[in-house]
């Protein structure tokens, strides 16, 4: 399925977070949305997953108009959002956090939920070792793995990832990004990756979208963006 964003404008109170954005996220790719802090990246993801409403414009997931749906229903269409800040339920154990991602389809497809959980444990063996531990005892990297893992249990066709590298050591970031890249290749899912860490994100992405103060300034293939020195200087600061 393809995600089509058309003329999307989102306001945060008096501040315009996103202004008339139009782009497509093709199926089975990794798209990196990059830009400085406050460029509107997180707001874009929050609007796709229904946590926030757009001021105008539309988001189409094939034929489904996402702006008509509640967050809980959007998950059922195959779009899973892992928000920024290693969003796990710290009061629950690792196993419970993963189980949470499967509760909504527990009754109809219990065996697949269990299969998804064991796949996540294979993907992130550290989580398997810490199954019974409360999530607040995990390291930052492990928490991020758990947040992504919780999302994977819902079997996303489109995974929205918000700043998975935030506050993590470079080595851990590298590990998580490599895992994501492998995962995308093996499952064929679509990943929309929002990142301030532009280089790491573009390296595993096929497409890049550069946001600056709520505007889409570039939507191009990732390599082209990486190789465009002027663009990098202007918007990415290196």
């Amino acid at each position: 399925m393809t995600l089509r964003v058309r003329g999307l404008t989102i306001d945060h109170g008096a501040i315009r977070a996103l202004s008339n954005a139009t782009f497509n996220i093709p199926k089975g790719s990794i798209t990196a949305v990059i830009g400085a802090n406050g460029a509107g990246k997180s707001t874009l993801l929050r609007t796709i997953s229904g946590l926030k409403r757009a001021t105008s414009g539309s988001i189409l997931w094939d034929e489904i108009a996402l702006d008509q749906l509640q967050t809980e229903q959007i998950v059922r269409t195959g779009i899973v959002h892992v928000p920024e800040g290693r969003s796990v339920v710290t009061e629950l154990t690792v196993a419970e956090n993963l189980a949470l991602g499967g509760v909504w389809r527990q009754r109809t497809n219990k065996s697949d939920v269990l299969a998804a959980i064991s796949e996540v444990y294979q993907l992130f063996p550290r989580l398997a070792e810490r199954q019974k531990q409360r999530a607040d005892t995990l390291s930052g990297g492990e928490r991020q793995m758990l947040a992504i893992g919780r999302g994977l249990i819902s079997r996303p066709q489109l995974l929205l990832l918000d700043e998975p590298s935030l506050g993590l050591a470079p080595l851990v970031v590298e590990q998580i990004f490599q895992t994501l890249s492998k995962l995308q290749q093996s499952t064929g899912m679509t990943i929309l990756l929002v990142e301030q860490n532009a280089m790491s994100a573009l390296r595993i992405a096929s497409q890049g979208i550069v946001l600056d103060q709520g505007r889409v300034v570039i939507a191009d293939n990732a390599k082209a963006i990486m190789n465009d020195t002027a663009l990098r200087h202007a918007y990415l600061g290196y």
């Binding site: 928000p83 796990v88 339920v89 629950l92 991602g101």
Partner: protein, 297 residues
Amino acid sequence: MDFLNIVIAGVSIGAIYSLMAFALILVWRSTRIVNFAQAGQAAFSTYVGLSIETATGNYWIALLAAVLSGVIIGAIVEVVIVRFIVKHSTSAATAAVAPVIAMLGLLGIFQGLMGLIWGGEYQAYPTAFAREGLIIAGNQIPFSPSDLFVLVVVVVAMSVAALVFQKTSLGLAMRAAAFAPEVTRLSGIRVSRIRTLGWAFAGGAGGLAGVLVAPSTFIAPNSFDLLLVFGFTAAVIGGLDSLVGGVLGGLALGIGLAVVTGYLGGSFTFMTAFVLLIIVLLIRPQGILGARGARRA
């Protein structure tokens, strides 16, 4: 009266405080609202129980009716009132104040309604078992078959609740929604339904507490106000977010107040509860078993 007898006397009333604390904590966890109307909801359910008892003469059917009406009233309060207050409390200031005032107003409405339907005077509520103290080795102890019944009912209710919370998907969703509603929604769970259920279960627990306490307090529109205060104190002792903490807080409070009553006299009971409440809030606002950051609301 020797000390052990006093402690025993406090256990069953403490168990009722635990039940009330449980109701308040469930609501707090699901919506971050202290439900002052719970006293009115519990009294209303108890009146329903009393009416059924009068009509059928069957204690057990009445008990069931009270709990069920508590569940229904809890759900209605959430769907009809709370949902809209939460939705419209957009600024931090209104979010802090509006629900409190609304719940106090709702308490008034419930009490007025009960006065209209059942009258304002105190009425007796029957017990299932005798209220005379058991005789052990020739001595009568301040613990009756009725107290034992209360204790058993509360233990069973709490065990069922613990099983649901720890072993079922519903319980998992309720715990997750309590601590991280956004992550829970993003996991595909209808958090608004979970909220309604939280209020419904709380209402049922309140109804049960009402039926269990009514034989000793009698029932009148405002006769459970003290129960609310004690339940709230127990909940705060346990740390508002912790169901286990609330249950232990209720038992501790019941026993503590029995000790105070036994040695200093009944006129100190009420005051002691408030002093305790304030001490806990001053020294350990997160409660004895409360999670770190329980006051982040």
